[in-house]
Symmetry: D2
Subunit: 348 residues, 4 copies
């Protein structure tokens, strides 16, 4: 990373995960998930989540999200989510594609966290509209959110309860799931099925894996025919062992939590520093490993000239100020952060 | 109609149109649009619009809209429109279905009329997002709008120009096209291709037809393969002559304008009356044949008890007040309106 | 018709049906199927089929077929049918569109009638292939078939039983349902649910209606959310009463059977005549109102020169001979047939 | 491998490719294909194919095929291919999914190789059917074929020419592309664009890679918007460098050809041996690394009891005999083959 805060997917792979890939290469094993790594992963995931889960490894978060949502929807369905959720703005229509045209109904939300009352209101609106409107089918929340905030456990529970009252299952986009876990200091079970989450897109790629995400159903009965969904989307790898092995290493010895803790700590350090810099204004609470901050364009240009990397963030909510996003990762050292802060102070 | 203001699609068929259906029944004619009525319609429509058009009759407005939009989109496309447009909230996902999952990006708008600057901003956002975001493909506006207002000609021209600058064609949902024409006192050409509209969903059913809508391309070259789209959607009728005959009668002797003028006049009369009733608050300008008005619930109940019909309008923009929609049609007599107004005054 | 044997959808509308349309025009009635005609139709259809059915009127057979099949399929589904079924070759991909890409698996069949053993074998193949293959979901048969033959009741029962053994419901494409009924001299119930048919596309347009087809579920519980499918496909007409009224008249006083009997009688008369003409060779048994016959090209040209109409039939099974299709209808007079036969004899 | 001939996707990863993955892990690099590996791959592929190509790495062959086909089709399109092609029977409907419901029209073919005349006939049939039939859009052939045979160069040229005459581009499913190259002793250019192939699904996973396939367009202009197709299907990996690095190593120092040559040699050795065993009957010529052979069930059981692995092949063409498939790979030693042959002789 050093000076590059553009994203957490620019990083290499954690040494432990790369080692696991290498050692999975020993032998011939059955393809398409019939291998021992994939079987062990099912057990490991059930252990991690303290309940029997059905877990389906895939190679991208977009695939995980779109496949998970398609399990609960038909073409005439409504998916309720935050109006600037990753599934709305960053997946090039994958959810619509995989669901056969279900409608993502985006709800406004401060800091990226939608509220239970919005679900209730949206479902009531759908009921009034009847057959002319799409039918409420599923809720999706992102944890950590798109703005680097984290839903607390009570909040998740409220959304799940509002959904259950309307027979709507709850999907969690966990592209940065481990960062939220670390922030909340809770167990994976507490942040998911114990609060009413039905299906999870579990991300690992941004937190040290090479290409490993997974769809996790907390009630395996909800996964009927999911295998065929994955296959017909081209997301069933023949040599699936190499993805499963990544996830085994990811869970092993809490690698995922250790990696996320490093990323979160760097982000917190960065946020603390930025709060002391008058030219910088933090736009959201910093709960995980993403920081959204506005700065004068002149300062941004000067930082870039010194080799610092970050994204100017395109805002779909136009009235907000210009902003940049800074992302930390398991690779970010506190000294990298200090360098950035020092440059900010010097150049401001 | 009498006391029933719920919608303009509860009406019978205009006598002229029913007569046309009856006289189209004389003989055997080729099926699937090879009949003389459909051929004559192509000529008639080109005359009405003062340019050679390609016209495709269908039986519902939802089909017309979804088919028209599908002609300009792919699954990874963005369709820009008003956030509470009929295509967004009232067609049960038909546009997503017909387009293979294109995303309707809803823009906020007072009185249902989006602005050219919103198109420019949305396209710029898409450009910044790159491959992760859907690709801008087409704009859709509704004329008359969902709130009974009408875009003036300059407004249409500005939106079309903003679209053309981004290579986006312009679709007009003309479910109540004739009502807008009558309001603007302009020609069909002036309200469409002369202002940059590329494709029109022309509605007739709400204005006196039985089941007759049409997709009209102002540049027939843009209609390549459209026939197959209509066919595979099940919208190519074998005895298409009976739809074409409706549209011929609709244009003939300006029936469409005469019908719309009656509906608009009744709406204007109703709006004028409501303005004098303190308990009623008009929510939007009344340009066409729909009136949105808020009234006390007690008054609404009393009106219903006297047999008046209207819709309590479910509002997807939750902060607005409770409202009802009143719709007039070619069948509405001014005396019907007067009865309603008198009841309002008496019961308020 | 007179000399035109190209199709049964070139005909006008039966007088009784046109009269019903006219008398349905009296008043304002609720739209989108909330009208009394549509309610009466539900009762009438349940009477006709001797069981409570759920009936959904639409305006084309392609819509009826594609909607019906979509109710039982997902994108990863297999639909088993005859390899040259109308849904395979004549609907421009509508079934694939409505089902989100389900695969029509065409089975070879003499005279257009598939066999129960083929279903069993195809399901066994799918089972062996597992997740890599589409999942068996539904069977579709056409009655009368695409070649003018009719499945007898025992045959339907066998196919249904083979399907039930694999949990596959049975769809019947009844574009020419009444012609088969008349041929078999059985009741609608006997030809459908009593033999295991779950859903029927009931055609009326080719047999005297203007634009009236219907999807009929023999177990209304199987129709969950079907309303939304129809709506989002643009096939829910606002003034639905005019379609329902056609179907009411169609059933009334056995109009449908009387019309089909006339068409079948004309076809039988034609087939009998052709059997006596050496130059003509009947390609299939003539059970309903379609006749496939091969003749020398010189004779065909001569017949056309005298104004007779028919289709040279494109055969997707290339090894078969050149052929024409002759279709009779409720409008065909026996004298029309005699004229055609006389011309054949004279010109051969 | 040793005694396991079930498939070529059960193998580990070639040492050279695993090494390349490891060395790609050094640094932070831009994500989503902005990395230097992916850029170098574009150059390398253009060198390999002796023309400027556009190459898009993905992780499965199903994704490569379905994405490639979707580039040339619409929902109302026809794709012509062999009736038992992998895209028809083994991809769970992925082509239909990605194309929005295009129809795969399967053509019968001895040894899996369709003929140019079949394309011409199918296109003529479509023309006769007009708007009622799907529109011819693209041809797909598999090289090596599903039965382990290889199209010779003249054959490819004829199919391409028949396609070009109907404006149909030609797709090649090259899951076992290198095996065909080695068999024909020709260059990649000679087997593709020089013979009229427009787009290639290039497989590497079965021939030594971990999860690396690619869509290769020989005319980069044909790849417009393909990036978005890949993204919205969830097939744009964030850490794409690790797939690109595999393909770089695959091409480097002719690894792909060396691996394929080993697999082909083992297959040839196996075929030669089987020809001398009376109980075995080869079902197709053995051009590449797949062998289809019929044997008595008793012999198969005995072989399995000794630990040999192979697939009993489900045949979708039911009249053929029971068969097994034996697959060799870059890992298969000739001694493995000899062991198998000895067992056959001993147990027969």
């Amino acid at each position: 990373m050093s000076r590059n805060f553009t994203s957490d997917n620019i990083t290499p792979v954690s040494a432990e995960i790369l080692a696991a890939i290498n050692s999975a290469n020993a032998d011939s094993v059955p393809s398409y998930g019939g291998d021992p790594y994939t079987r062990r992963l099912a057990d490991a995931a059930s252990g991690v989540f303290e309940t029997e889960v059905a877990i389906y490894p895939v190679t991208t978060g977009t695939a995980a999200n779109a496949l998970a949502l398609s399990q609960f929807t038909q073409g005439f369905s409504a998916i309720y989510c935050y109006e600037a959720a990753h599934i709305v703005t960053d997946e090039c229509g994958a959810p619509e594609f995989f669901t056969g045209g279900a409608k993502l109904i985006g709800l406004p939300a401060g800091d990226g966290r939608i509220g239970a009352a919005q679900i209730t209101a949206a479902a009531a609106f759908a009921r009034e509209m009847g057959v002319h409107h799409v039918k409420p089918a599923v809720i999706s929340i992102t944890q950590s959110t798109e703005w680097g905030t984290v839903y607390d456990l009570g909040h998740i529970e409220q959304i799940a309860a509002a959904g259950k009252a309307e027979s709507l299952p709850l999907h969690m986009d966990g592209a940065r799931f481990a960062n939220a876990l670390v922030h909340l200091k809770c167990t994976p079970a507490e942040m998911t099925w114990k609060r009413g989450v039905d299906v999870l897109s579990l991300g690992a790629t941004k937190n040290g894996a090479m290409c490993a995400e997974a769809v996790v159903f907390f009630n395996p009965k909800m996964a009927a025919d999911f295998e065929r969904r994955r296959k017909r989307a081209g997301h069933l790898l023949s040599k699936l062992r190499f993805v499963s092995a990544q996830l085994l290493a990811y869970f092993d010895d809490d690698l995922w939590l250790r990696n996320a803790a490093r990323a979160n700590a760097a982000a917190e350090h960065l946020a603390e520093g930025l709060r002391t810099i008058p030219a910088a204004r933090l736009l959201h609470p910093v709960d995980a490993n993403e920081i959204f901050v506005s700065m004068p364009e002149t300062l941004l240009v000067a930082l870039e000239a010194e080799g610092f990397g970050f994204y100017r963030w395109p805002l779909c909510v136009p009235e907000r100020d210009v902003a940049i996003r800074l992302v930390t990762s398991f690779e970010t050292r506190l000294s990298d952060v200090d360098e950035f802060l020092a440059a900010c102070r010097r150049l401001a």
